[in-house]
Amino acid sequence: MNWLTFIALIIWVYILSVLRRGKLEFWHFLIGSAGLFVLFMIFVQPLLTTPLTKAVTMASGSIGKVLHLFEGYPEYALLFIKNKSGAISLIVDYECAGIIEMAAFFSLLVFFPVYLRMEKVIVGIFGGLYLFFANVIRLVVICVIIAIFGNEAYFLAHTILGRIIFYALSMFLYYVVFTKAQIIRQKVGSFRYEDE
C-alpha cells in the first residue's frame, strides 16, 4: 500500500462517517460500495485471481472430461477444445474468473442496509459460490458449443450466448439478494427497514 492509497482510504472512511452522521443513506451506500470495490480490486484481486482461475478451469475441465468434449489445464489456466475444424485453447484470465463480478457483489452487499451483519456474511458466501458456478456454467456452455459446432461458433458462443446465460444468472442473484429483499423488508409509509 503506497501513501497515496492510504490517504485515499482515510478520506474515504471520513466521507463515509460524514454521510452516516448526516443520514444520507443513499450516498453512503453509493460511495461506500464504490470505494470498497476499488479497495477490493487493488488489494484482494491480485491475490484471488490465480487460485480462482485455476479453480474455475479445474471445475470446467472436470465437466468437460465427463462429457468427453474438452479438457482443462488448471496449471496453465487453459481449456482445450478439439472439434471438427481443429482445436482452440481458451485462456481463463482474471476477466474470465468472475473476480470482478464477485467484487462488485460483495461491495454492494456490505453496504446494503437491508440485511443484518450475519445475514450479509451468509448471503455473501452463498452469492460468491453462486457466481463461481454461474461462471463455470458459462464456460462449459461456450466450450460445448465450440466442441459441437467448431471454431467458427466461438464469437456466437462467447460474446452472445455465454454472456446472456451469465447475465441472466447474475440478474437472478441480484434480484433475489437486493431487489426482492428490499421490497419485502421495507415498510410503506415513512421509509424504514424491518430491523429499525
Binding site: L16, S17, E75, S89, L90, I91, G98, E101, A104, R163
Partner: protein
C-alpha cells in the same frame, strides 16, 4: 460505524490470510510439473542448452573411433611385420582400416562442423542480444513459464493442435501450440518424424479476431535489426540454432521476438522443433488493435499444414455486466416500490 469498519478490515485480513498460502500452493503447480518432467528426462536428453552434450557425445564417439582405428592400424602393422599372409587378406585389412579411418575422419569432420556450428550459435546468441538492444521490450522470455532456449520440456503439458495437410493417418501429423503470458505470445511447432524434411518457418500468418492478418517470418537478424537474407533458413545445421528472430513480413521489418530452431538429425529422422515469442505490443502497433481487444489469435503455418493454432480469451464482460445488473436491480426496486405504494393507496 466503527463496527462496520472493523468488520471490513477483519474480512480483508481474513482473505489475505486465506489467499496467500493458496496462491503460493497454486503457483507451485506449474513449477512442480516442469521440475518433475525435467528430472524424468535427464536420461533422455540429447541436447542441452548449448548443445554441449551432443558435441561431447560426438567427440567421445569420434575419440572412440579414433582409438579403434589407431588400434587397428597398429594391429595391421604388427601383422605386416610379423607374419606373411596372403596379399588379399592384407589388402582386406588395409581396406578395412582405411574404411575405419575414413569413417573416423568423417566423424571428426562432423564433430568439427558441430563445433563450428555451436561456435556460430554462440555468435548468433550475441547477435540475438544485439538485436534486442535499442528495442524497448527487453528480456521478452525471462521470468515466464516458457523459456526460448531450445529445450522444449516446458511445452510438455501445454495442449497441442494437430497440424497437417489432410493427413489420413492421425499419427503422422505435426504439433503446434500457443501460450499467452501477459503481452507475450509463445509458439511451438514440432514436425512429425515421418516427413524427414526440415520444417520451413519462412512464412506464417497471425490473424487477430478473425479479421486482421499479419505476416510473420522467422529469420536470422543483422545487428541493425534487419533480416539477414543471406542466411539459409532452408538448410539449418544440426543442433540448436539460436539468434533467430520473428519479423514482420511487411514494411518496416518490425522485430517481434526471439526464436530458437532445433534440428535433431541432419537427415531429419527426428522431427525438427521451433519455439518463438511474439510481443503483442508490436502486433498492436502494426494492426492498431489494442491488446485488450484481441479476443482471438490464430497462427497458421502453411508450410506444414492447413490447420491453424487458435487461442482465445473468455472474458465475461464484467464491467458492462455489473453496470447492467446494478441498473436492473435498482430499476426493479423503484418499479416494485411504486407498484406496492399504489396498491396500498388503492386499498385505502
Amino acid at each position: 460505524m466503527k463496527r462496520s469498519i472493523a468488520v471490513i478490515c477483519s474480512l480483508l485480513l481474513i482473505t489475505h490470510a486465506i489467499v496467500v498460502p493458496i496462491n503460493s500452493m497454486a503457483s507451485q503447480t506449474v513449477e512442480g510439473v516442469v521440475k518433475e518432467e525435467e528430472s524424468s528426462e535427464d536420461d533422455n536428453l540429447a541436447l542441452d542448452e548449448d548443445g554441449k552434450v551432443n558435441e561431447e557425445s560426438n567427440e567421445e564417439v569420434s575419440d572412440n573411433e579414433e582409438e579403434i582405428s589407431v588400434k587397428e592400424e597398429s594391429v595391421n602393422v604388427e601383422e605386416n611385420t610379423t607374419e606373411e599372409e596372403n596379399i588379399t587378406e592384407e589388402e582386406d585389412d588395409n581396406q578395412e582400416s582405411n574404411v575405419i579411418e575414413e569413417e573416423s575422419s568423417n566423424v571428426e569432420d562432423d564433430a568439427i562442423e558441430d563445433e563450428s556450428i555451436n561456435i556460430e550459435g554462440d555468435v548468433t546468441e550475441d547477435m540475438g542480444e544485439d538485436l534486442l538492444e535499442g528495442i524497448e521490450y527487453e528480456n521478452l522470455t525471462y521470468d515466464g513459464t516458457i523459456q526460448i532456449d531450445g529445450m522444449y520440456s516446458d511445452w510438455k503439458h501445454i495442449p497441442h493442435t494437430d497440424i497437417s495437410w489432410y493427413s489420413p493417418d492421425p499419427d503422422k501429423v505435426h504439433q503446434g501450440a500457443l501460450y499467452l503470458d501477459g503481452d507475450i505470445l509463445y509458439g511451438h511447432f514440432k514436425m512429425n518424424d515421418a516427413y524427414k524434411s526440415q520444417m520451413i518457418v519462412a512464412f506464417m500468418e497471425l490473424t487477430i479476431n478473425n479479421s486482421t492478418s499479419v505476416g510473420l517470418t522467422i529469420q536470422k537478424g543483422t545487428p541493425d535489426g534487419d533480416i539477414d537474407w543471406s542466411a539459409d533458413m532452408y538448410n539449418l545445421p544440426q543442433g540448436i540454432t539460436t539468434g533467430l528472430g520473428v519479423f514482420y513480413t511487411g514494411y518496416p521489418k518490425y522485430y517481434m521476438g526471439e526464436s530458437v530452431f532445433t534440428v535433431y538429425d541432419s537427415n531429419h529422422l527426428i522431427g525438427d522443433e521451433v519455439e518463438f515469442a511474439i510481443d503483442l505490443n508490436v502486433i498492436s502497433k502494426i494492426t492498431d488493435i489494442p491488446i485488450e481487444s484481441m479476443r482471438e489469435i490464430k497462427l497458421y503455418n502453411p508450410n506444414i499444414g492447413s490447420d491453424a493454432i487458435v487461442i482465445a480469451g473468455s472474458s465475461s464482460g464484467a464491467v458492462v455486466g455489473v453496470i447492467f445488473m446494478t441498473v436492473i436491480a435498482a430499476g426493479g426496486v423503484l418499479y416494485l416500490r411504486r407498484k406496492r405504494i399504489s396498491s396500498c393507496c388503492d386499498e385505502k
